[in-house]
């Protein structure tokens, strides 16, 4: 399980557009790097990120090796009511991780 840092504003009111920020610890190994032994380090990246609100996709991203290590994403969401947010990352080597957070909307 990779360490994640998820930021969801907790003071949102109905109709606000909030910014959600997610950070996940992952080397995003491009596959182009040559290690000190001269061998090319194989690609190992996160390829997809999906954010769902009560099961419905509200943001998604396809990631490529040009995304930096420990990928950071900040994206908007107009909030209408409280609910449950889920954040899913998928990547090479069968990487799959989901985190959840509560969305509190006044």
């Amino acid at each position: 399980m990779a360490r994640t840092l998820i930021t969801v504003p907790q003071d949102a009111k109905r109709g606000d557009v909030i910014e959600i920020r997610v950070l996940i610890a992952h080397p995003m190994e491009t596959g182009y790097r040559v290690a000190s032994d001269g061998k090319q380090v194989p690609r190992d990246i996160l390829r997809r990120f999906t954010c769902r609100l009560d099961g419905e996709v509200v943001f998604a991203a396809a990631l490529f090796p040009a995304i930096s290590a420990n990928p950071y994403l900040a994206f908007p969401l107009r909030v209408e009511r409280s609910g449950t947010l889920s954040f899913a990352w998928e990547g090479d080597g069968g990487f799959m991780q989901t985190e959840t957070a509560t969305l509190n909307v006044a």
């Binding site: 360490r3 994640t4 950070l23 290590a69």
Partner: protein
Amino acid sequence: MTGALASLALGVLASGLLAVGSAHAQQDARRSGYDDMSSATQAMQRDDTQNPAMLFVADGEALWKRPAGSDAKTCASCHGDARTGMRGVAARYPAFYGSLARPVTLGERLNLCRTRQQRAEAWRAESAELLALEAYVALQSRGQVITPPDDTRLAPFRARGEQRYRRRIGQLDLACAQCHDDHAGKRLGGSTIPQGHPTGYPIYRLEWQALGSLQRRLRGCYSGVRAEAPPYGALELVELELYLASRAAGMPVESPAVRP
């Protein structure tokens, strides 16, 4: 420049703690590496929701509470909540460690606690665990000022550290002082040469794409001037850290910082 810097450092120590930015008859000419970064990188450091180092601080917080060693003690068992127990600690390192009769860095001190108090295996230098715990402990000094201990036993080590700082080394025949005192603020390639104050360690360095210690950074500098870098844990590196801390006395701790 060096004479002025030495007398400034003494003036700061003599007049007690000085927070950068406070009114002072003699303007503090010292700049943190933070001031030399682009605003985008500064924003990355300033915001805990964006700073990649905070991922590893979270790991460190988990390690603080994890039982280790033959008695399954946690750091918290002796030190309680790190936010109070470790407050200001990182700002005072390197510090003298009596039974080894020499100064040790914060990372070395964590390992000494781990082996001698928790009776667990030491973590390898630059290992993910050691860096994470170091980052978590260093965070508890953020905002405090670098406060080298007023300990006369440190004097000969600090003096040797200063000598090393001023000695030319490597195929490029450069001393730390030449870049970081004489030419700080000027450009080397596309980068601004920082003054080299250890205000934010362990840092998330963009060049490494990872968290790393001051020792890692110093070893990188040795390589940069084509000198053989001393191994991790070498006393030479600790003495240099000790001198750098006194040179930066009074500057605020930013840990965990982001640097290019």
